[in-house]
């Protein structure tokens, strides 16, 4: 006997993501899911943003293991909670829900949720965030948007980090940007360098405008 089901397999996750979203909204917090491959500069971007953005932030730090990143962030006096996924390659909504019990969000404007370094799995799991941001970096190559369309098609913004080393790498900026625009013409693209600070002003301006307009 056949039974029609027609149920989204990620439904249970999405329902909890919805509750997370309600929790953020009730506190007037904007949650940003930061996704990237390992080493693209997620933590560096968060640290630089904390330095330059004149709004209070907090961080949820997702890692397979270790507390290296959360220690870096805490050392700057930023409120941070660590999630160790214990091998799982992405954050999901229940993990974020648990982490929210351990972080004070009153008075916070932006909650940065640093996902596990991975360009595949995090794209499929809604966390309840308002914005998804991909961080890519010059040494990874200009073809990443073409190889990981699932992620790049869903984000509101793409940060291209490490542009200070563009002179040493074959990186076609137009090809990279076209790969994003092909599936996601509305995405903002911010080429910048967390090391030299170049381009960070536009990224900060965008966050400030989101804080006002959202």
């Amino acid at each position: 006997m056949k039974i029609e089901v027609v149920k989204n397999i990620l439904d249970a996750n999405d329902q909890i993501a919805y509750l997370n979203r309600e929790a953020f909204d009730s506190l007037d917090v904007i949650a940003i899911n930061i996704m990237a491959s390992p080493g693209a500069g997620k933590t560096s971007l968060i640290l630089k943003t904390a330095e330059l953005l004149n709004l209070p932030i907090a961080v949820i730090e997702g890692d397979v293991a270790s507390t290296i990143d959360s220690e870096k962030i805490a050392s700057k006096g930023i409120s941070v909670v660590q999630i160790n996924t214990g091998g799982t390659c992405h954050l999901d909504a229940p993990m974020v829900k648990e982490a929210l019990k351990r972080i004070k969000l009153e008075g916070i404007k932006f909650l940065f949720i640093e996902n596990v370094g991975n360009l595949i799995c995090p794209a499929s799991f809604e966390l309840g965030e308002h914005l998804k941001v991909a961080v890519s970096s010059v040494p990874e190559g200009d073809d990443k948007p073409y190889k990981y369309p699932g992620l790049f098609s869903k984000v509101s913004a793409v940060v291209l980090n490490k542009i200070d080393i563009l002179p040493y790498i074959d990186f076609n900026m137009e090809y990279f940007q076209n790969g994003i625009k092909a599936l996601n013409p509305k995405a903002q693209i911010f080429p910048l360098s967390c090391k030299t600070g170049e381009g960070l002003d536009k990224w900060i301006k965008w966050l400030e405008s989101e804080a006002v307009n959202r």
Partner: protein, 112 residues
């Protein structure tokens, strides 16, 4: 690796839908852009379904190819790696198919 979590969910949904009958097949729809791998789901399924109503069920995967609607000429096409519309050479299009990931139906054994 993220197939582990979703396979747990697949088993839970099918058992909840099975009216407590033994499940013989699970029909799953996976879009080309959804990044889930059939073999990996099958691998976890074989382990996780043991001693449940879903044990021994056949997993049938229907893959849905990606389909874009060109921003310019509005024609639909299956993108190659360039993502350029084959009709008008414009770059990209709106994703209209390929992100599916759901259980379409299950088959259960009727009672003897």
């Amino acid at each position: 690796m993220h197939e582990l979590a979703v396979t747990e969910e697949i088993i839970k949904i099918t058992i909840d839908s099975s009216k407590s009958k033994k499940i013989s097949a699970i029909n799953i729809v996976i879009g080309e852009l959804s990044s889930f791998i059939d073999d990996s789901i099958q691998f976890y399924f074989d382990i996780l379904s043991r001693s449940t109503l879903a044990e021994g069920a056949t997993l049938n995967f229907r893959r849905v190819p990606a389909k874009l609607r060109c921003y310019n000429c509005k024609k639909e096409f299956h993108p190659d790696s360039t993502m350029i519309c084959p009709f008008c050479n414009h770059l990209g299009g709106k994703i209209i198919e390929g992100e599916e990931f759901y259980i379409e139906s299950i088959e259960v054994k009727d009672e003897d």
